[in-house]
Symmetry: C2
Subunit: 224 residues, 2 copies
């Protein structure tokens, strides 16, 4: 009898296999899927509230919220007017494809245009996990400092878009939005970069346009 | 022949064993050790710059900086006037005891009163790793929102002190320092809480006093 030793070459491979399956399901439903990554408190949920308010009458948005605990964020999204599912990860520092699969049981994809996943607040760990999304989006708030892309390059390197939030605070802090933008583009020249304030609403129209464009592209035609 | 299966009950145990050894070394040198945990951009390095400026003539401070990449933070500390060692963790989302052991080769403990470790910017992963420190300190910046202790309770539950930074921005944002303090104390009633601005310098005297008290306590006498 020959004994062989099973070697697990890549422990995230089961996640990748499941993510590929999710990507197929999303494509079958013609749904655009975004995975939002940021530090705690960068304004991911505020951006989603604004996005629901700005695009909710035009596109059917669905939100999956990831947090260690509480359902504060999902409740905010529901109050803003979109269906939302809360995932609590406990000590888990990122979302995985299996969690998204479970959340989809609570969302009717046939009835959706865009699914936005708000990952756990963590600028590092979520970057390595494929959730079947079309794009990863990194949100960086200006008060965090304009050197974040240089010090935490992974999130910016793996994202297709970067949203610089809280630019209304620029007069009161040393960080500069132009420097943050430049540092983000140094890490990833292909990033679409948006400077916004979810407090005042400034700059959000370009972000909404980008979502429309991504959905149109996925559906194979320019306009949605 | 009886086969037994080795079960690894706690994979962080090698870290805990090494951390216990580091704690013994720190005690032999009569050195107070703080492990600073926060989201990216909460102002850990700014707090250390202020601490070096405020206590550097009175206490011999040494700093160990943890970042995925760059030596930006350690250079800021050296410019502020204290010896600093930079650890680059790459994709690693937290510091481990073995990294601190390696950093100690670059710091002369016989010549130190306080070692401050600035962990990787991450409000979750560093909380579970013992570095041999006397206290963990969580830094939460007010623009991150006053609900952070409720949503990311681990850092607040395992810390002995919480520094609420950037309180000078309170007039311009919805978050309230008093609510953040209250939420932190809900998670951990024993926390020493400080409201500071590393931009203006407000509130730092109480933080400096807390460090003096911790050092005096470790050295077995009230005043240093």
């Amino acid at each position: 009898m020959t004994l062989t030793v099973p070697v697990l070459r890549d422990i995230t491979e089961p996640n990748s296999l499941l993510a590929a399956r999710l990507r197929t399901i999303f494509r079958q439903h013609n749904v655009l899927v975004l995975d939002i990554i940021a530090s705690p408190g960068a304004g991911k949920t505020a951006l989603l509230e604004r996005t629901v308010a700005g695009l909710g009458r035009e596109l059917r948005l669905r939100v999956i919220e990831g947090d260690p605990t509480t359902s504060i964020d999902a409740e905010r999204i529901v109050a803003a007017g979109a269906p939302a599912v809360q995932i609590n990860t406990g000590a888990g520092c990122h979302l995985e494809a299996g969690m998204i699969q479970a959340a989809l049981d609570q969302l009717d994809l046939a009835d959706a245009d865009v699914v936005i996943i708000e990952n756990v607040g963590n600028l590092m760990c979520p970057t390595g996990w494929d959730l079947g999304e079309d794009c990863k989006v990194v949100v960086a708030s200006l008060p965090e400092g304009d050197d974040k892309p240089l010090k935490y390059p992974m999130a910016f390197a793996t994202a297709q878009a970067a949203v610089i939030n809280k630019v209304d605070l620029e007069p009161y802090i040393p960080a500069r939005a132009a420097r943050l933008r430049q540092n983000a583009l140094t890490i990833n020249p292909d990033l679409a970069v948006f400077e916004v304030s979810c407090q005042t609403g400034a700059g959000l129209a370009a972000w909404f346009d980008w979502i429309r464009t991504q959905l149109g592209r996925k559906r194979g035609s320019r306009p949605v």
